[in-house]
């Protein structure tokens, strides 16, 4: 079945080649290039289903995008201007009507305004900064201009391309769902990461380094030897707490904090564990607390000294990575084109009209906020995320080297909801977030006053170059498929991508039940097409799915080289496993070396 649709798509692709136009029909049309949309597009194309992926924006990622400074300014202009009744269509209504068949209606896309309360500050003062001699030396090597003039708007714009500023900054747990998905699907080949180098917490009015790894615990100067021993003992217990369930059973439903006290941990240690390791609110019960602590610990030591990874060039790379996989498997990409509307008949979406052209589909995957009201079935409570981006001249906690920091700010005492913490990341030039010497402070919060109460006290006016704040609303969705329409979330409030991946997976499972979700794409290294001498010995491998190269070439109507056949052999499934073990071994070595 999969092979049939695969070949079908190969022909479709040739049709595009011939006409320079879009085919008239796709199995799946995806509107919006947010992360969930992109994962679904990749999963469908990967299994040979024909996919058309559309976005009326001229950039990938929608609310998941990362921008250059200029790109950010353009996005702000667009968000300020965007009204609820924005019309995408540029074609004459009459022309569009002619594309409809009997009984069909054309539903224009909705454009719910989700970004509001944008406030922007350029803090630059007209003071000349002195040039340090080591910076001067850097100048020759670096592509980043040395700071001599204040960072005015003009100067930020002139250095625009040195910025990758995220609309939705996220960290990845090293053993979290995104890392696992990237590895198992081989989408990891399009991504690079930096390890978060330190976990910070706000304690007694100061920022402190949270000791998380064994090495950290032993080297830290902030806690006593007795505390070190207590902490190590407790963390070791948490790693395998399931083995001691009999002992802790009575405490499981009681508050986690009480349990920590019972374990004789000191207030400082309890603060570290609650806020920075488990990252749970005070109200959480022991079972949840242990689970969260274990999640943190399980991700330690895989890639670095903290459990977290930061995507190089920003979160915006991730939807693009899935889009690339989708394109490699035949997905068609069509950005910055007006989407005139969705063709609807008898509770089913028939297709879409894009750029004045009608394209039919069996399934529509669409961002909720773009989906016409008539096709939305559920209405859930709106959630609000408060976002800040601050560009800083120096780190919130200076260090000898450039650090990539993660700071969890606890929720205020009175909020008892499950997610009252705020996630703060500070990234610098090493992660390509901003020019050398500058830091980008990213704040994500569910509370409107986080900046005033928690973040501002960490900063000095001199330190600030630029501040941007906005508010974004989203709805959480429970239903995965309604008729033949699947709705995608805007980013929900989370640290990693667990919910986004789970929702994308559910949508895919509902559309193509029983199919593999993003099976491993063949390693390009398995298709070695080197010198004759090498080719003769090397065996070209391929995956069971997609089909063999022969099947692919069979669709090449005008093939002039009928002898073209690649030596092939199904590789051991062990390959992936060995990669993982090598990888972790390499990292262990790296860790030991340091």
């Amino acid at each position: 079945m999969q092979n049939v649709s695969y070949n079908y798509y190969s022909l479709k692709k040739l049709e595009i080649m011939a006409n320079g136009e879009l085919p008239k029909e796709f199995e799946v049309i995806v509107i919006g290039t947010g992360l969930e949309e992109s994962i679904v597009a990749a999963a469908c194309a990967r299994n040979g289903h024909s996919v058309l992926h559309l976005d009326s924006n001229d950039f990938y990622g929608d609310q998941w995008a990362s921008f250059t400074f200029e790109g950010l300014q353009k996005w702000l202009d667009g968000s300020r201007a965007k009204s609820d009744e924005k019309e995408d269509s540029q074609a004459e209504p009459k022309v569009l009507k002619d594309l409809l068949e009997n009984g069909e209606t054309l539903l224009p896309l909705d454009h719910e305004k989700t970004v509001t309360k944008i406030s922007e500050d350029f803090h630059a003062k007209e003071v000349k900064e002195t040039l340090k001699s080591d910076e001067e030396e850097e100048e020759r090597k670096s592509d980043t201009p040395v700071v001599v003039e204040p960072w005015t708007k003009a100067k930020l714009l002139a250095n625009s391309r040195h910025f990758n500023l995220d609309l939705t900054p996220r960290l990845l747990f090293s053993k979290g769902s995104m890392v696992e998905l990237l590895i198992s699907s081989n989408v990891s080949r399009y991504t690079e990461f930096k390890s978060v180098t330190r976990v910070l917490t706000h304690l007694n009015g100061k920022l402190e380094h949270v000791p998380s790894s064994r090495a950290d615990v032993f080297s830290t100067k902030h806690i006593s030897v007795i505390e070190k021993r207590l902490l190590m003992k407790y963390l070791t217990f948490c790693l395998n707490y399931q083995e001691h369930l009999d002992k802790i059973e009575p405490d499981l439903q009681r508050p986690y904090e009480e349990f920590l006290k019972k374990e004789k941990l000191t207030p400082t240690l309890i603060h570290f564990i609650m806020n920075s390791i488990a990252m749970v609110p005070k109200s959480v019960n022991c079972e949840e607390g242990l689970k969260s602590t274990q999640k943190f610990l399980a991700s330690l030591g895989r890639f670095g000294f903290t459990p977290f990874l930061w995507p190089m060039y920003g979160t915006g790379e991730l939807p693009q990575a899935f889009c690339r996989l989708s394109a490699v498997f035949g997905g068609t990409y069509f950005l910055s084109r007006p989407i005139d509307g969705i063709i609807y008949k008898e509770n089913q979406v028939q297709g879409v009209i894009v750029d004045g052209q009608r394209i039919n589909c069996s399934y529509l995957v669409i961002a909720r906020k773009l989906c016409p009201q008539a096709l939305r079935t559920e209405s859930n409570e709106k959630q609000t995320v408060f976002r800040d981006i601050h560009l800083l001249k120096s780190s919130i906690l200076t260090s000898e080297k450039e650090e990539l920091s993660f700071l969890t700010l606890p929720g205020s005492e009175e909020t008892e909801d499950g997610q009252s913490q705020s996630y703060v990341m500070e990234v610098g030039h090493g992660a390509s977030a901003c020019p050398r010497g500058m830091y980008s402070l990213q704040v994500n919060s569910l509370k409107s006053d986080t900046f005033e109460t928690m973040v501002q006290p960490l900063l000095t006016q001199d330190q600030l170059i630029y501040s941007l704040r906005w508010k974004r609303t989203y709805e959480t969705l429970k239903k995965t498929l309604n008729g033949n329409v699947a709705l995608c979330h805007d980013p929900v409030f989370e640290l990693d991508f667990d919910e986004a991946i789970a929702h994308a997976r559910n949508m895919f499972d509902a559309i193509f039940p029983g199919e593999d979700f993003l099976p491993r794409a063949p390693e390009p290294e398995e298709i070695i097409l080197g010198d004759e001498s090498i080719t003769a010995e090397e065996e070209v491998a391929h995956d069971e799915n997609p089909p063999k190269p022969e099947e692919r070439t069979s669709t090449e109507v005008k093939s002039q080289d009928p002898k073209k056949s690649e030596k092939e052999k199904v590789e051991d499934d062990q390959k992936e496993e060995s990669m993982l073990t090598e990888q972790s071994a390499a990292n262990e070595n790296e860790a030991q070396d340091q």
Partner: protein, 208 residues
Amino acid sequence: MATMEDYKYLFKVVLVGNAGVGKTCLVRRFTQGMFPPGQGATIGVDFMIKTVEVEGEKIKLQIWDTAGQERFRSITQSYYRSAHALILVYDVSNQPTFDVCPEWLREIEEYASPKVLKVLVGNKIDRDDREIPTEVGEEFSNRHGMYFLETSAKGSENVERLFSDIAHELLQQSKNREIPSYDANSQQILQTGAGHTSSLNQRCCPRS
């Protein structure tokens, strides 16, 4: 596995240019030694690999194609990240594919490393309906600090030379420590060393 392979350098080479200028054909001609007439076969193939020997060093070239995203000008910017060399291809018998080169350059300058080795390639010189004279392409490349070559993927003219010159140039840069030399023992993916950056560190000089 990549970790066990016998090469000392790994370079990422990325192709751009309008649809139909022969990007995939150039890669296939170079990596497989043949001229492919149809392109449905590129499905599932992400990038091609060929190991070449320059000055006695084994160099692995990882050559990335656009996966069709150029057709509607929808290339992901992440495609340009970490490229060591960028080949901008036009069709010498098709004026519009040359006229659009400044637009491609703008995209390259926005997203690729500023030090990426840029190569302008006029392909399909086997055709007798040439519209862009060699001097015009050469002049454009000089103006934009690009290396220039005319090729025929069909007749294989200059195809080997194109990639071996790129390998040669990147090797020189790498030996001069101008760009990070990839350690064959490290993983390309999920590479997370705190000191790891993938961008090039020095502007390369155009050759002619």
